[in-house]
């Protein structure tokens, strides 16, 4: 199960399904953001998902890299909030890692994950531990990479990544916010879960789940 490749249609179908799933979480995300921030994260994630689905249903690029960059730009256009912009940066970073490709391998997937992290870090200046989306994304990508490098089993690696994302999300409970609206009263954020980390956890979980289904169907 190592040598899997995904074409543009494979990737868009996984992403579209994951985006669709996100819409089931908007109320929870709104409530989490309302505690420390301004409560728009539900709206924000909903609009971003709609934009993803709209673009990816009829992408105007055959190059997967360019398609992801454009997907990010579309997300930003409808949702230039902090979350939306960083989500867009993640797409653009992922896309830049696989420019000029019409098929991607698992190694490319790892590059995409790291590209997404770079995009978010470059734009948002945050690091792991700052109580942001990075706290679920970074452990997920790292774990996926380590597991796949060690065992060359994508299904296994996806499972491990989801667990790492979940642990990362739960760990934000104990962190102080260094960025975003919570950072103006950092002590007030301790004991509260970060909305952005939660949103990314759900995205990772859905993406991994649909990708696993696709892989399993192929075997």
């Amino acid at each position: 199960m190592t040598g899997i490749t995904l074409n543009r249609a494979d990737l868009t179908s996984v992403l579209i399904r994951a985006a669709g799933d996100m819409k089931g979480h908007v109320d929870q995300l709104r409530d989490l953001d309302a505690v420390m921030g301004d409560g728009d994260l539900g709206v924000t994630v909903g609009m971003g998902s709609d934009a993803m689905i709209a673009y990816l249903s009829a992408p105007d690029e055959t190059d997967i890299g360019k398609m992801l960059v454009k997907c990010g730009m579309n997300v930003n256009k409808v949702n230039p909030s902090t979350f939306g912009t960083l989500q867009a940066s993640a797409f653009m970073g992922a896309g830049k890692a696989v420019l000029n490709k019409t098929e991607i391998t698992v190694v490319d997937l790892i590059s995409m994950g790291n590209g997404a992290i770079d995009g978010i870090k470059k734009r948002g200046k945050a690091e792991v531990g700052d109580k942001t989306m990075l706290d679920s994304l970074v452990p997920a990508v790292e774990t996926f990479q380590r597991s796949f490098t060690e065992k060359e089993d994508i299904v296994e690696a996806l499972k491990a990544a989801v667990s790492a994302a979940e642990a990362g999300m739960l760990a934000t409970d104990h962190m102080k916010a260094k960025f975003g609206r919570g950072s103006w009263r950092p002590d007030g954020t301790v004991g509260k879960r970060d909305g952005g980390a939660t949103a990314f956890y759900y995205m990772i979980e859905s993406f991994a789940g649909h990708l696993r289904d696709l892989v399993n169907n192929r075997v």
């Binding site: 256009k77 230039p80 902090t82 734009r123 103006w184 009263r185």
Partner: protein
């Protein structure tokens, strides 16, 4: 929610439409984005263009500062939400008169990140862009972490002075330096008495008791320093003034420009009562007020409250502050 509006989701676009019908001589839309507005005569050849942008719900911020002697273009977000980088890029392209573009905006993460993205895209189109980020709210972080502070009403001074500087045909670095110097010398502190409601949300952004006020609250309802019983105007003025004076700090012998800004529902009468006391306090500190501005310069829709901004002046700032400028959104001022 008691608002004179139609569809909450059309709130911003209908506002823009009303503005364009009211002031067609003043502003026009960008070709590429319905959320980008530029001076009717943009681009001004050879002049450094200045762009700003931010969420809606703060008029005259941000679009009211576009005009001769002020800014060249503005990107408009939804209520209390950043505009998108591609709107910013559309504006950038239409205002660039060949001398480059300064992005001058308030310190909120959404705005900062989107302006950064826009700057990267602009540089790919060979438009030189620099950024200055206003962060004047003394209540939002200690002076040692000034760069983390929120940008609030004090950005008015940066707009006015950078706009006048650009009109002298200074180059991009010089205009940015003027803006940065204003930002470094501006301190603001606000109080809020009542909340406001984002139309698409439909309920107030915070709650506060009938006899309470929040000292240091941000213009979107961000947490302040302290929630207390409503105090007399003279006490409120003293709290704001002492905090602002001690922050820079302003010293005896300094000359300052003062802005007493209303958040929306607070009547001008109350603003003048506050500013009267602030004048007395500044006098007692030996700080001379060169120019006073009282009115609504940065609002939060129907929120009640006020903020005090002080800018430390030097001769260049005085000249630039007095320079002519025009916008139908701003009160008139006069050479001192």
């Amino acid at each position: 929610m008691k608002k004179l509006m139609n569809d909450p989701l059309q709130f911003v676009d209908e506002t823009i439409s009303g503005i364009l019908k009211a002031y067609p001589f003043h502003l026009r839309l960008t070709k590429e984005s319905p959320r980008g507005l530029v001076r009717a005569d943009a681009p001004v050849k050879g002049k450094v263009a200045i762009c700003t942008g931010g969420g809606s719900g703060h008029i005259p911020l941000f679009l009211g500062y576009v005009g001769p002697g002020l800014l060249d273009g503005v990107s408009i977000g939804n209520v209390f939400a950043s505009p998108s980088a591609d709107t910013m890029l559309a504006v950038t392209k239409e205002v660039n008169g060949g001398a480059g573009v300064l992005y001058l905006f308030g310190n909120y993460s959404g705005d900062t990140m989107n302006f950064e993205m826009a700057a990267e895209m602009a540089s790919m189109e060979d438009i030189p862009v620099q950024s200055s980020v206003a962060a004047d709210d003394v209540a939002s972080a200690p002076a040692s972490q000034k760069e983390r502070r929120r940008g609030i009403a004090g950005i008015f001074f940066a707009y006015k002075i950078a706009g006048a500087k650009a009109d002298t045909m200074a180059n991009l670095d010089e205009v940015k330096a003027a803006a940065d110097r204003v930002i470094a010398n501006t301190c603001t502190m606000g109080v809020a008495l009542s909340p406001c409601t984002i139309p698409a949300v439909g309920k107030p952004n915070f709650t506060i008791a009938e006899d309470e006020m929040e000292i240091g609250m941000g213009i979107h309802g961000e947490p302040g320093i302290e929630r207390t019983k409503l105090k007399k105007a003279d006490e409120v003025a003293a709290i704001m003034a002492e905090r602002v004076i001690n922050d820079l700090p302003f010293k005896s012998g300094d000359e300052a420009a003062m802005l007493m800004n209303g958040l929306g529902a607070t009547p001008p009468e109350e603003l003048f009562i506050l500013s009267s006391k602030v004048h007395d306090i500044l006098k007692a500190h030996g700080i001379k007020v060169y120019k006073t501005f009282v009115g609504e310069y940065a609002t939060s829709m129907e929120m009640a409250g006020a903020s005090l901004s002080l800018l430390r002046l030097d001769d260049e700032f005085k000249k630039l502050l007095d320079a002519p400028a025009f916008s139908p959104f701003l009160p008139q001022w006069r050479k001192s």
